[in-house]
């Protein structure tokens, strides 16, 4: 069994628009291990979804610029669409950010699932539906949802149905894009745990879990990758990242998360001044430098990706110097 399901090297994917290029994914390198849930965090607009969709479909205006992506041995950036199609749902699958809106309003869930599976050459016989029912049961849904239309389902139910659909052919690699953002806390917890369960049950091999909410990642991710403004910032085992962040951005991000039990009155959290840069026609250099308290002139140049520890990489000129400074504050 191979160690890495996914290997991404120096991936660049830009949006070509009227006014220029939005460098939404710029030089991102990482890999995804077999059996792992990788959390991908970063603020809105930092390119998380873009990164995900660059694996899935590079439709206009998104444009693949350079870099390699190896998905279980397939160089997917070089594959043509018809070939890649065969990988979909079986090898690579997605639970989209817009999961609640991923239904055709006029089709029953059953038809939808059957149609989608059939397109992948699966016979939609009784055995198939037994499997579907099993899966529904797993996410605590009654099999009667199969005969319903999407509008008859609540948000949490829809989210779960999409989870079932996206994983019905046991994909090796699953991208879960903000699957919890639109949900209530209770559903959030359920859905997130469910994802981990899927992996534990080996229904999926590994997954990228995208969110802007670090605290959820903390619950289920094995490793966490932080992106900032289209750039890779830091990647590492969850506890490492939380306890021993090496990138100033990661650090600030974690510091700015309130926790139950901490009140303003007692302990004021520090935010990060300023706002992320616009990705349109952005130039060289560390993209965090404007907001970074530790920025130096060197930061005008793009920092390299360096290893901190086993499985822990960071992209910052000053990680070594600051190292201890940053960690242990908590």
């Amino acid at each position: 069994m191979r160690e890495n399901i996914l290997e991404v090297k120096n991936l660049k994917a830009y949006y070509d628009i009227l006014k220029g290029q939005v460098k939404a994914v710029d030089n991102v390198t990482f890999n995804l291990k077999n059996g792992e849930i990788l959390g991908l965090a970063g603020e809105s607009g930092c390119g998380k979804s873009t990164l995900a969709s660059s694996f899935i479909s590079r439709k206009k205006p998104l444009k693949y610029i350079s870099g390699d992506v190896d998905l279980v041995g397939h160089k997917i950036m070089e594959m043509d669409e018809s070939e890649f199609k065969k990988l979909r749902l079986r090898t690579i699958s997605l639970i989209p950010q817009y999961a609640l809106d991923a239904f055709s309003p006029t089709k029953k869930i059953k038809t939808y699932i059957a149609d989608l599976a059939r397109e992948q050459g699966v016979k939609t016989d009784k055995a198939f539906f037994d499997k579907v029912k099993e899966r529904l049961d797993l996410v605590n849904l009654d099999e009667s949802v199969l005969n319903r239309y999407s509008i008859e389902l609540s948000g949490g139910m829809k989210q779960r149905v999409i989870m079932v659909i996206s994983t019905i052919l046991d994909p090796e690699f699953l991208i879960a894009d903000e699957i919890t953002s639109a949900l209530d806390v209770s559903s959030q917890r359920f859905v997130a745990t469910m994802l981990a369960n899927l992996r534990d049950l080996e229904i999926i091999k590994s997954a990228i879990f995208i969110t802007h909410d670090l605290s959820i990642l903390y619950q289920i991710a094995d490793r966490i990758m932080i992106m900032y403004a289209g750039n890779f910032a830091e990647i590492g085992p969850t506890d490492e990242i939380v306890d021993n962040p090496r990138h100033p951005y990661t650090r600030s991000l974690i510091d700015s998360l309130p926790k139950v039990g901490i009140q303003y009155k007692d302990k004021k959290l520090a935010g990060i001044d300023g706002t992320p840069p616009h990705l349109l026609n952005i130039g060289e250099g560390c993209r965090f430098r404007e907001r970074c308290p530790y920025a130096i002139d060197k930061c005008e140049e793009t920092p390299p990706r360096e290893q901190v520890a086993e499985d822990h990489y960071v992209s910052c000129w000053r990680w070594k110097e600051l190292g201890s400074d940053l960690s242990g504050k908590k």
């Binding site: 070509d16 628009i17 009227l18 206009k60 205006p61």
Partner: protein
């Protein structure tokens, strides 16, 4: 400053950089110029016998002559004028009425008032337009351009009302409207600055559609002999052409050209509208 302008009127920028809009606008402008300046290019009056009958297009008669020797070009350009005029007036009235009703209904959305207005609108939507117009037109002793426009717009507004209403409904629930409310702005200013001005591009598109459909409706009425009882119009030119066997006699310039101009104009306006839609609607905006 200039950049600012485009920044503020981003939509306009997208609109004007859309190929469909440019293409459509060019044709529309040409047709309008034809209507505006065409009469200057012709030495004839539209009712005058300008030469022999049955003449195909030539440098003397750009669009040939009718069976009895009138200049088709002259008739067409004058007819175009009046048809455009009816379209413009009727389009304006229909848009206005539709906007007002839609606006009021939307603004008071959910109230009985709204329900009643919408009911009225729905009623007008199902009534067969032309049949009603025929009946009404038959009543009028004299039909001038304005009256034509009024009766045509009578059945044209409901579409607009519906559309504007839902537009208003969504605008009204925008948070900036709430902000204006809690800033104690008066209703008039809210309507003007927050709702109406944000609806402008939309209303503009609606107007184009109304312009189109009222022109078509007018021409149909004219064709049935229920057009203005005075003057000339495209529908009348075509009615004459058909009644006087223009088609059978192979006088395509008489029967076909006026309709063609109209069809091209409306097609061009469709283009403008589709282009504008793409420009105004980010979802369809082509990069």
């Amino acid at each position: 400053m200039f950049k600012d302008f485009w920044a503020k009127h981003e939509n306009l920028y997208y609109a004007l950089s859309n190929k469909k809009v440019i293409f459509g606008l060019t044709i529309v402008v040409l047709v309008f110029m034809l209507a505006a300046f065409g009469p200057m290019l012709t030495p004839y009056e539209y009712g005058e016998y300008a030469g022999a009958g049955y003449l195909p297009p030539s440098s003397d008669h750009f669009f040939g002559t009718t069976i009895d020797g009138r200049d088709v070009f002259t008739r067409t350009v004058y007819g175009l004028r009046s048809t455009l005029l009816v379209g413009a007036i009727a389009g304006t009235i229909a848009t206005l009425v539709g906007c007002i009703i839609g606006f009021v209904a939307g603004y008071y959305g959910g109230t009985i008032f709204d329900e009643l207005l919408m009911m009225l609108t729905n009623i007008f939507v199902v009534i067969p337009q032309l049949a009603l117009l025929i009946v009404i037109a038959a009543f009028l002793e004299v039909r001038g351009v304005v009256i034509m426009a009024v009766i045509v717009s009578l059945t044209a507004w409901p579409w607009t009302a519906r559309a504007v209403r839902s537009q208003t409904l969504s605008l009204k629930n925008q948070e900036y409207v709430s902000l204006s409310k809690i800033s104690a702005l008066n209703v008039g200013r809210i309507l003007r600055e927050d709702i109406a001005s944000n609806m402008f591009s939309y209303v503009f598109m609606v107007f184009i559609q109304q312009f189109n459909s009222t022109m078509l409706a007018t021409v149909q009425l004219e064709f049935l002999g229920l057009g203005p009882t005075k003057g000339i119009s495209l529908g009348l030119v075509m009615q004459n052409a058909v009644n006087w066997n223009g088609i059978q006699l192979g006088m395509w310039w008489w029967a076909i050209i006026p309709g063609l101009i109209l069809a091209i104009l409306i097609t061009a306006l469709y283009f403008v509208n589709t282009g504008l839609d793409a420009a105004f609607n980010p979802r369809l905006r082509e990069m």
